[in-house]
């Protein structure tokens, strides 16, 4: 079976998966204690009030019926309205998407060269000082929770030194208009993935550098770095590509911590809020979006894996 056919089959499966995730999430939110009415009632959980709210939100209809209605709407491209504000869900999503896309896109753009670079450097000088320093720094950063890192960076570089704005409150809707805003969030977002990916690249690189084809490529007079980057590196990337896909997935799902520390209202905040509010239509729509990105990221990573191990792609 060719890779194209494989990809097509996976995409078809993906549609099924997305619907399955949406269903699963629907079931999960149904099973969550309390519904939007209870949450809306807040600290005056008067029973009559709750049942009125339930009526108003049409939560008194059977779950299956609501689910079917939602699915029918989805098929027609209608995501419904938010339970809490009544605004169309599509609009709510559209507002949260751009910041997430900007953050995720820029992070990924920087992540690949930085983490691959660090991994390659550590592998090339394996056991040397640079390797140890890189290991210590990346693993050390990894072991600091995002929150702490974010807050310390803001305290130092934004509040104390004033180099960057501390948060994005009052920033233009398009974050790219004010690039200084993005520096600290990107640093925080990069800290952990750089570690996990560069460690995997390093491990793969060390194996690849010791292989016969690398030695032979050097014999063939190819320059040292060309051999490392064009010959050893592709062989080292398969696990890192998977991790990269996970990271992309994580980033596109919105990163609650960074979003809240820097006040960037993206999809993560939206998910957090709508789960807190049990705003099922918004949760559902978000999960469809996330499931789609997950399926896409996984497919891309799997295709990359096969491209990076062509022999395995050929079997069966």
């Amino acid at each position: 079976m060719s890779l194209t056919r494989y990809a097509l089959r996976r995409l078809l499966l993906g549609v099924v998966q997305v619907v399955a995730v949406a269903t699963l999430v629907f079931v999960l939110t149904e099973a969550l204690p309390g519904d939007a009415a209870v949450v809306l009632a807040g600290d005056i959980p008067d029973e009559e009030r709750i049942s009125r709210l339930r009526e108003a939100l049409e939560l008194d209809r059977p779950a299956v019926e609501r689910w079917a209605g939602w699915l029918a709407g989805l098929a027609g491209g209608d995501l419904g309205g938010s339970l809490v504000s009544g605004r169309p869900v599509a609009g709510v999503l559209a507002a949260g998407l751009p910041p997430t896309l900007v953050l995720a896109g820029l992070t990924l753009l920087l992540l690949v060269p930085v983490s691959v670079g660090a991994g390659v450097a550590a592998a090339v000088w394996q056991g040397g000082l640079l390797d140890r320093v890189l290991t210590t720094v990346t693993v050390g950063l990894y072991a600091i929770p995002e929150f702490a890192l974010g807050v310390v960076l803001v305290a130092l570089f934004a509040v104390r030194l004033g180099w960057f704005p501390p948060t994005a409150v009052g920033a233009p809707a398009n974050l790219l208009e004010q690039p200084a805003l993005l520096v600290l969030p990107l640093v925080v977002l990069l800290a952990r993935p750089v570690c996990s990916i560069s460690r995997l690249v390093r491990a793969g690189m060390i194996d690849a550098l010791g292989s016969g084809y690398v030695a032979h490529a050097r014999r063939l007079g190819l320059s040292l770095w060309r051999v490392r980057l064009a010959h050893a590196l592709p062989n080292a990337l398969a696990p890192a590509a998977q991790q990269l896909a996970r990271t992309a997935d994580w980033l596109l799902g919105g990163v609650i911590v960074v979003e809240s520390v820097f006040v960037i209202p993206g999809l993560g905040t939206l998910l957090n809020d709508s789960v807190a509010a049990r705003d099922v239509p918004v949760i559902q729509a978000l999960c469809v979006l996330f499931a789609a990105t997950t399926v896409a990221a996984n497919l891309a990573a799997d295709l990359a894996s096969y491209r990076l191990a062509p022999a395995a792609a050929g079997t069966r």
């Binding site: 949450v39 009632a41 005056i44 504000s85 305290a155 501390p166 009052g170 809240s260 905040t269 809020d273």
Partner: protein, 491 residues
């Protein structure tokens, strides 16, 4: 009396200045939020509603009632009709505020099919028989005699909107600020309303920014992105108090902190055990550890320093010996008790942790169980035996009527006593102020002796303000002068 007491090193004498854009940072409701003042629930929404709308009356610093749109009110015979006179005021679009607007607003809130927060407060009004007398007078008919009717006018969320208003994407109100622009989940920009009856605001523009993370609100003030940060933790306040980059304003007596014991079921149906709990609690340690010192110890009564508060009752101090003895007598030694807590309000988890430790010393095995923060209030209303509890400012009468009567809908302690209900009815049925005061004292004495609320403290509400911001006064959260931006100015 609203004692002006801004942050530490701000001179109070400086002259108010006109102009500028004031940016205030609040925790918010996310992208789903709306501007309907009657839906107001969060502090952010309350403050925004207050900026764009007016109530007929509001709470003063001691939670007594101060007139707002209503210039005066007088009870009819038998306390079951009330005549309210409106002052000359106008909505942002120039229309005057009329009695019809008031009736429309109250009808909207009290609508059977809807669930606005103030609905319960307004339940007493017989709207069908209430009527407008001319443009500026409303006569309210009540379903039964009620001396505390002004409390209703000041109820949380009882804002006056123009007649017919039911849609609030571009709200029009009579408040000091008029609507500018709105990005849900991000910001709301308001403009100075020159025609406000209480004098126009000093600042030209007011922008509400949303930052759910406390550190972000603080950083926004420190970094000059905002002038006012609502709701700081005590630890943050201590961190920045003396830094000079941010002034910390403490709004004392803003939040009651308590444990609510359910008196209708074991083990706390035993008054001895409740007594023991009252005695084993080390309130000052709780204030120190949980509130980081930002608060005062409580005396198992709601509304410290509010109107009618029973300040004369002796302050409880820890008495481990007697507590242990009482626990023994109640046969509860070593009993395992689950204390419900959650992240629903700040300090709950800490309070549970500290209290469990204290109880252990008296021989009770209290374990904290963390519940879901979003549904916490509904969960603890009827389930469990003891839970963390808190309340914002409201008149003591409202506290009693909503939480402590047999028919109260949010009775978290399940305190239901006919003789107590009777006392309450007597109190709200008399027009005699001294007699009412005596009755409230009676009720509080009973609650202090054997009630279900273990009120261990009153938390300060903490604000961070930029040194430029002047005129911020110390008023408990939810009262008129809290989060009020028409009387502050940028220096």
């Amino acid at each position: 009396g609203c004692a002006a007491q801004p942050g530490s090193d701000i001179p109070t004498s400086s002259q108010p200045r006109r102009g500028g854009r004031l940016r205030v940072a609040f925790a918010g409701g996310g992208a789903q939020e709306t501007l309907d003042p009657h839906l107001a629930n969060l502090f952010l929404e309350a403050s925004r509603s207050k900026a764009m709308f007016d109530k007929l009356a509001d709470y003063g610093a001691d939670v007594s009632i101060v007139p707002r749109l209503a210039s005066k009110w007088e009870a009819g015979k038998g306390l079951s009709t009330w005549r309210v006179t409106l002052r000359a005021a106008a909505f942002h679009d120039g229309r005057p505020v009329r009695a019809a607007d008031v009736l429309h607003s109250y009808a909207r809130i009290a609508d059977e099919k809807r669930t606005f927060r103030a609905k319960a407060n307004l339940a007493l009004i017989d709207l069908r028989n209430s009527r407008a007398i001319g443009d500026r007078t409303v006569e309210f008919a009540l379903k039964r005699p009620y001396a505390e009717f002004p409390n209703v006018l000041a109820a949380f969320g009882a804002y006056i909107v123009p007649e017919g208003a039911d849609e609030f994407s571009r709200p029009v109100g009579s408040g000091p600020f008029a609507f500018g622009s709105f990005q849900p989940g991000r910001s709301l920009l308001l403009k100075r309303f020159a025609g406000h009856w209480d004098g126009a605001p000093y600042v030209d523009e007011l922008e509400y920014l949303i930052a759910n993370e406390e550190s972000a609100r603080v950083n926004a003030v420190l970094g000059g992105q905002a002038e006012y940060a609502h709701d700081l933790t005590p630890a943050t306040a201590r961190t920045h108090e003396n830094g000079g980059r941010m002034a910390v304003v403490r709004l004392s007596n803003s939040g009651m902190q308590a444990f609510a014991m359910k008196v209708d079921r074991p083990p706390f149906d035993d008054p001895q055990l409740r007594q023991a709990m009252f005695l084993l609690a080390d309130r000052s340690q709780m204030v120190d550890s949980v509130l980081s010192g930002a608060g005062q110890p409580g005396n198992d009564l709601f509304g410290k320093d509010y109107l009618y508060y029973a300040a004369d009752l002796p302050q409880r101090t820890p008495d481990l010996e007697r507590a242990t003895w009482l626990i023994d007598r109640a046969g509860a030694k070593g009993m395992r008790i689950q204390l419900d807590t959650s992240a629903a309000a700040s300090g709950f988890i800490e309070a549970a942790s500290v209290f469990a430790d204290q109880a252990r010393q008296a021989g009770l095995d209290i374990t904290a169980k963390t519940g879901n923060k979003d549904t916490y209030w509904a969960d603890v209303l009827n389930k469990g035996t003891i839970c963390c509890y808190r309340s914002g400012a409201m008149p003591i009468e409202t506290h009693i009527s909503q939480r402590l009567l047999s028919h109260s809908t949010t009775n978290a302690t399940k305190w239901a006593r006919p003789e107590f209900d009777a006392l309450y009815d007597k109190a709200v049925g008399t027009g005699d102020e001294t007699r009412r005061r005596a009755l409230y004292l009676d009720m509080q004495r009973t609650l202090h002796a054997e009630g279900g609320f273990l009120v261990w403290g009153f938390a300060d509400w903490l604000l961070g303000t930029s040194p430029r911001l002047r005129g911020v006064v110390n008023a408990p959260a939810n009262t008129l002068d809290w989060a009020r931006f028409d009387k502050v100015w940028l220096g």
